[in-house]
Subunit: 437 residues, 4 copies
């Protein structure tokens, strides 16, 4: 028997031990015989550190999983069953730029939203499309499971311009919401079922069920009580107004704070910048320390310090997704896929984040119908932004990039938007050859 | 513990032993403590015969399920958990009229399609809407699971005009297709997964998977080979043209023969009428014999003769549906529900027959997207027919009934359609008070 | 001043004197300085006969319009302002085949509907697409005004596959309906305004206004009275059922008889075939006689005999369309154009026949909204047929042609549809090279 | 002959002389015999001043138009042909509140957008719906032509909840854009044709034609040149970024500055507030002076000072609309009507501002198709806001009002939005009984 071959592009990431831990735990249902960790020459050192830790972990766990480390992506891809991507074009220094320049002009500076998210997309989309070219040639039957941000934009790009169509965008936001809800209700998460609908980092929990009975209103009330908080490592947990949640009737995701608390989030970011610098800089420090820990030749498990990094449940989300595809489980998981009419009003071919039945033939979205009238416009606007950003990334068209920038709700001026665009294009020039031909 | 209470309206039906057999088999997962069989005074004798058989079956099986027989529907409905309906307004004599009059005018005479289906709908919709009134009052949390034909039209009527919204239309056609496909491929049906989309008796298998891998083309080829047949007891199994199936790319249901083999089906019906009379008359004879068998006080299982009656897999379909709701199973089953955008192009509020995830909160349709261009129009036309028929049934408006009749693809003349309408209105006058006010 | 240059492809048609008469009458608003009549070598004789008549007409009228006769299409097209097409691939002999073969198998045999319309489309679409290639090169700013049948299918083909996008399909059916309605109401047609919506030869008058006040119900009542008839030269004027029209609430076009009186129309065609042969054969005889008349060197006006040929109002329709484009009139005319959302539920890019504002920038459809529920399915089915037929014509794919054939409502059997397809492919082989590669 | 009867509700408005001037100019095509100016008791003095001026104007012009002044709305409405509404619930003091409170919390304070527009809608919708009740009873055939702001929201309210359906919302923004464009291009406005699509105060010029040839790109370039400005009296004419306009490809309306220059507009408003107070206060002063002028018994024409008030072209827009309806002109004008599918993606029943053919049967929108991807989301979001605001106005539901407030793009915080809501509800309590039951 051949066994499963997984290729992880950006394998030198600090998250890799998470993934390896998950693959070990799921081994019975998901017999991975080969895990190829691929990285670029600049990441060689990290790849070796993290790769050696992975080897120690596997050995200690006693599972027959072979870990391969390589800088040769094409060699790795051959006959892969699953390809996961967790790349960061321009590394954390690029992120720091994405966060700093918009803030300098008084606009939100954030990794995956607004001007910052736009540039992360512009840098990353060409690379992900190249990966799909290789896959079409070397492993045409494999699934591409993309963890890289901005995951919605990247899924959209692959659906529209990729050489393969078997792509799934994966984010830990929905699973984190499910877990928080279970905690709030003080029940095991297996008793909770949340219906998700929206876009990546713009997803809503539209209905929550406890043992099959709807408890959405109760969850909204708890969430508005100020006693619990649902957030991510990288987003400050500002409280929601209880009446607003009651009026909204659906559960916003942590990132919705950028939209419904735009003013406060901007003020907070400006303060933080003064006090402690960007999130990117903080992460850079965390990563540095993490890799020191990883180097320890006696370490053969995922170290607890990884939790500070964020990314909770990523490993769980990834492993249960791959497992359900591999075993044709037909269970329900929230992922980023082709809309296919699931959300009325969004293009049939657009990437959306919705609850899907996971089968060997891929995720099949459940029909959402119309989104609630209150959120329809915002969701469409972000989708429009993503569509224009993808077009801009593929064509290198300056005006398309300007349009994407300006229509984003977190960029509140055409004139300033253009200044930000110009300065960021210059700052990221090295990673944006399509704009400088 | 209270246990589940099921109420079966039309409990004196010859199909009831099927249902009872199923409930016995599923008892572990579906602990039914009370089964109320309800019928109308005209059906009292049959109710007693079949009810006593049911009691003997339960006793022999040793399950603690109480069978109640009653003519008092409202008494039965109180606090029910599930209400199933299998009624036949006007009994088989009305069906014989539905089949005969259209044929006299050279048009298809069929129980659930065309002029016959229209009149079955006109007679039955007011009754089903009355049942929903009682349910709203007496068991507002119960699910209405409707087996009565025309199931699509009835589900549409309840969705639009019913006093309750928890309704599911159930038909054995999709499950029969799944079983036939499993037989064709010579595999156990559990390894087969078929995606269904369309309307009741106008449903297509859009994708077939074997162990998660698509095998649709292979199934179409087998189906066009003339070696196997996929049909129902009441539909002659005329062979499909292999090239047509290859061109269609999706799997038609047995009833599609009325549309894609209209000419042959009409010729066949006219011949049969001459040779052996209507299907209704044949069924009447089968039923008569069946009830003789049922009377046997030594009989305590479903007799094998029931198979001649048709309705294969009804019991299985019903029990697995109720079980999955009761247990919040979240498995996939094809049922008739509110579209909710699952099929693009059909109204969001229309009843459609699609693969759904079955939860305690009811069925959640999987997104189908656009139907293939080749079938879009036909499906819309039948849905238009159903919408107009529902309006006509509710209002008693002659012109709406005439419009429904004339636009049906199986009625190929406005002038003759009107003659059929007039003669059928007169023939069914007793059951159509709304048209004679 | 340059003056307008019109090129008429298929200029040797018997209809040409109609067009010339119109151009003479409209000369003040539409100063045509050059009219190029183009035909193929097989049509050289007719071209000369009709061309010489045209020259005599122009001379007698005293307008400075130059008539050019040529077999060199590319020479003619250079710098044209408007190109009209009235071609007949395979001439009337092909039409006779289109009408005969389906009838032999008991199906409607008609020039533009059903199996016959399908084959007329398959033969003509490649030619019209070639014309658009020449236009893109030689007169890219010109409008293509297509009179050739099946006009809906051809417009669809050009919109999807043409090298130019400035195309309008023109039919005399809507204008004929308007004129008949004016006659019925005994008022001048200028006081009547009809809103049209649907497809070519499947168009409905959705609202009729007299002096701006709605009179649709009155018109329907008159039309169902049996005292007046609205039809075309080539369609028998079978009466509509008055109650059906009242129920329908919108005004069907003459061709709708093939759908709502399918049975009677088929019986009538079979009878006629026996009695007098096909319509194509009759037209052939009429044309022969017409050309004899045209030869008369003393004839310098459109002869009255042309009226037997059909095509009433074509000249009027064509001239007022070209005039309104040329003069940016912004008046309302029913033409075949890109849907652009005018009819909800049909593809945004599909060809539809709707009331449009006619501007120098082309026709701008008025928003229709949803078609009435009663006709939605039939219209979608014909559109589906057209879409598949266009695909088949462009690709030469046998299975697509079979699918188009079988889903057409006038072809009521998959098995017989295939026989008709096979026999017609063989009969028209010469004109269908794309199917015989 | 009866002659036309027009009723103007809010007849004591300072704009009335505009309207009267227009009616005098258009008298030949629009023979108004009775003009009823209606107002409420609080407006009696103004009504008399302006009414007497109107009488002097009519007398001087020598047209036989009778001016009636009344406080009895129902008496006035009887048998009216057209009803125009130009009311201001709470007068200018309410406007000052609408502008001040949001600004106090750092949010845009504007008459028709954001929090201010919301409250203007909440106050006015109940009154406009009462007017439709009277109309349904007293002049059911009349057209309601609403000039009152927020005109989009009010049209939406009447379409959804009004007792009459013959409603048109009218704004001078599109006509002002057309005039500015004509000025820019230095041509007479009759040679210009602009296609409009969007919502009231959120409308775009999607295509501009000069003599029928598209010149949109040229217009955008001029508009971005900084040499010309397209704005309204009440909106500062901040320059558009030339590249942004080039990227957008369609022409924004003056109000779009609040969205695409949100930051600058907010800063400007805050500055202005400090320097000169609200726009409402300024208008109050202008009005005071105007009415002094109106009192002059020697004045018998519209005084030139009215121009400072804003509202340019209102009279022209109103008169040409009424004239085209009355005369069934079938010309093209941009108005607010039921979408009817004209803009794909917005609800079929929603109010939209689009180019329409104006007929005796009302405006018929031209099909727009999909809005450009860049603006789809913003337009949908404002439509969502309007829909929720209408629901809130009709129900008096606090949570709906909070939801409308919070989702508006100009309100950038749930917590602050709630504070604004609470303070404004209290401030306008007298005019919002539905929220205090
Ligand atoms: Mn994420
Ligand atoms: Mn069935
Ligand atoms: Mn025609
Ligand atoms: Mn306005």
């Amino acid at each position: 028997m051949k066994g499963i071959k997984i290729v992880t592009i950006g394998g030198g990431s600090s998250y890799t031990p998470e993934l390896v831990e998950g693959l070990i735990q799921y081994y019975d249902e998901l017999p991975v015989r080969e895990l190829w960790l691929v990285d670029i020459p600049e990441g060689k050192e990290k790849l070796e550190i993290v790769g050696n830790l992975a080897k120690r972990m596997v050995k200690k766990a006693g599972v027959p999983m072979n870990i391969h480390l390589t800088l040769d992506r094409r060699a790795a891809l051959e006959d892969a069953d699953f390809v996961t991507t967790q790349i960061r074009v321009g590394q954390l220094d690029a992120r720091i730029i994405d966060e700093s320049i918009p803030l300098k002009y008084g606009m939100i500076g954030q990794e995956t939203n607004g001007a910052g998210g736009l540039f992360k997309g512009l840098r990353t989309i060409p690379i992900i499309l190249e990966i799909t070219k290789d896959m079409a040639e070397l492993c045409p039957k494999a699934w591409l499971i993309n963890f890289t941000n901005p995951a919605g934009m990247l899924t959209e790009a692959v659906l529209r311009y990729g050489k393969i169509k078997k792509v799934i965008g994966l984010c830990n936001v929905p699973i984190g919401m499910e877990m928080t809800i279970a905690n709030m209700l003080e029940v095991d998460s297996s008793r909770i079922h949340v219906e998700f609908a929206g876009l990546n980092h713009m997803v809503f929990g539209t209905h929550v069920y406890l043992d099959g009975m709807e408890v959405t209103a109760q969850v909204l009330d708890l969430l508005g009580s100020g006693k619990v908080s649902m957030t991510m490592k990288n987003i400050i947990g500002l409280d929601w107004d209880r009446d607003f949640l009651k009026a909204l009737k659906i559960i916003p995701c942590p990132y919705h704070r950028y939209y419904y608390k735009h003013k406060e989030m901007l003020e907070h970011e400006l303060e933080e910048l003064k006090k402690t610098g960007t999130r990117g800089a903080a992460v850079k420090q965390i990563e540095k320390e993490l890799f020191e820990v990883y180097k320890d030749p006696d370490l053969a498990v995922k170290p607890s310090q990884l939790e500070n990094r964020g990314g909770a449940y990523y490993s769980y989300a990834a492993c249960r997704l791959i497992r359900s595809i591999y075993n044709d489980k037909r269970d329900i998981q929230p992922v980023n896929v082709r809309n296919n009419g699931a959300i009325i009003g969004l293009p049939e071919g657009a990437a959306v984040e919705v609850s899907c039945m996971i089968t060997k033939d891929g995720p099949k979205p459940l029909a959402v119908g119309e989104l609630p009238v209150a959120v329809r416009g915002l969701v469409q606007q972000i989708k429009s932004f993503e569509q224009l950003a993808v077009e801009a990334a593929v064509t290198g068209d300056y005006h398309l990039a300007l349009l994407a920038m300006t229509i984003h709700p977190l960029v509140t001026s055409d004139v300033i938007g253009k200044k930000i665009l110009n300065e960021m294009l210059e700052a990221h020039k090295k990673y944006l050859p399509q704009f400088f031909r």
